[in-house]
Symmetry: C2
Subunit: 150 residues, 2 copies
């Protein structure tokens, strides 16, 4: 039962990397190479982040992308939501036909509690927090580069 897909995973890695040097612009190419993310795939992910205002971009030679929101205000929840839609345990209440019997679905009650919990938790973790954690780990290891692997 996997929760994060590659889109979210790569997006978070990209945001962490960009967030560690918020002032500087980097090309998708360089980012792709440094993080081991397939270039064209990363490009599409970045474009999505740009559309959502989390990343800014500049075209042309010496162009590239940079983080445009405060990392402390970019929540993992938002990133997941962009690429995987809102947290939902099963599909009954959103997709296809709407549940004909929503109010009385037993499983729904228990399960939405958990759904809500997951959502809340992802809503508490920011990219800034992840960066802080990463810095702490790096410091403990004497400044070596730590590869990100969610």
């Amino acid at each position: 039962m996997k929760i994060l897909n590659k889109h979210s995973d790569y997006a978070l890695r990209a945001l962490i990397t960009l967030g560690m040097n918020p002032a500087s612009r980097i090309s998708a190419k360089a980012l792709s190479e440094s993080q081991g993310i397939p270039y064209q795939f990363l490009r599409r992910i970045l474009q999505e982040l740009i559309r959502h205002g989390l990343v800014s971009s500049k075209q042309g030679a010496a162009g590239g992308v940079a983080i445009s929101a405060d990392p402390d205000r970019i929540m993992v929840r938002e990133v997941i939501s962009i690429f995987q839609g809102p947290v939902q345990i099963s599909e009954c209440m959103f997709r296809r036909q709407l549940c004909s019997n929503r109010a009385n679905c037993v499983l729904r009650h228990e399960i939405m509690r958990i759904e809500q919990m997951v959502d809340d938790e992802f809503g508490k973790v920011s990219v800034g927090k992840l960066i802080a954690d990463l810095r702490r780990v790096e410091a403990a290891r004497g400044g070596q580069q730590v590869q990100q692997q969610p």
Copy 2:
């Protein structure tokens, strides 16, 4: 972001139905019809539940399936685990190559906390509890049949 797939969903519905009449045997056919679950699909799901000892079966005319474990001891967690494997947020630590850098994966720390929480919560909810909830809803509605829709 869907958490339950159809296997788990149907398996839970089947277990709830069987658990409501723990003494009686019912054929997969009848169960399929009463719950609106595709017959052959349900059969495979039942066989899996049988292999895991949650359901018993008898071949032949007047055969069928019945619940074989105490509904209060069948946890949603176990059912999900059977059909979707253990809860895991992203794939890095299990599949493909093992993460080369597990100990230092930042995302991993935050994310495993949430993973653990989900797992714990699913481990607290039993099929028996769901049945009790369902009965409560039915009673409140004056005994009408309530269709299960997780």
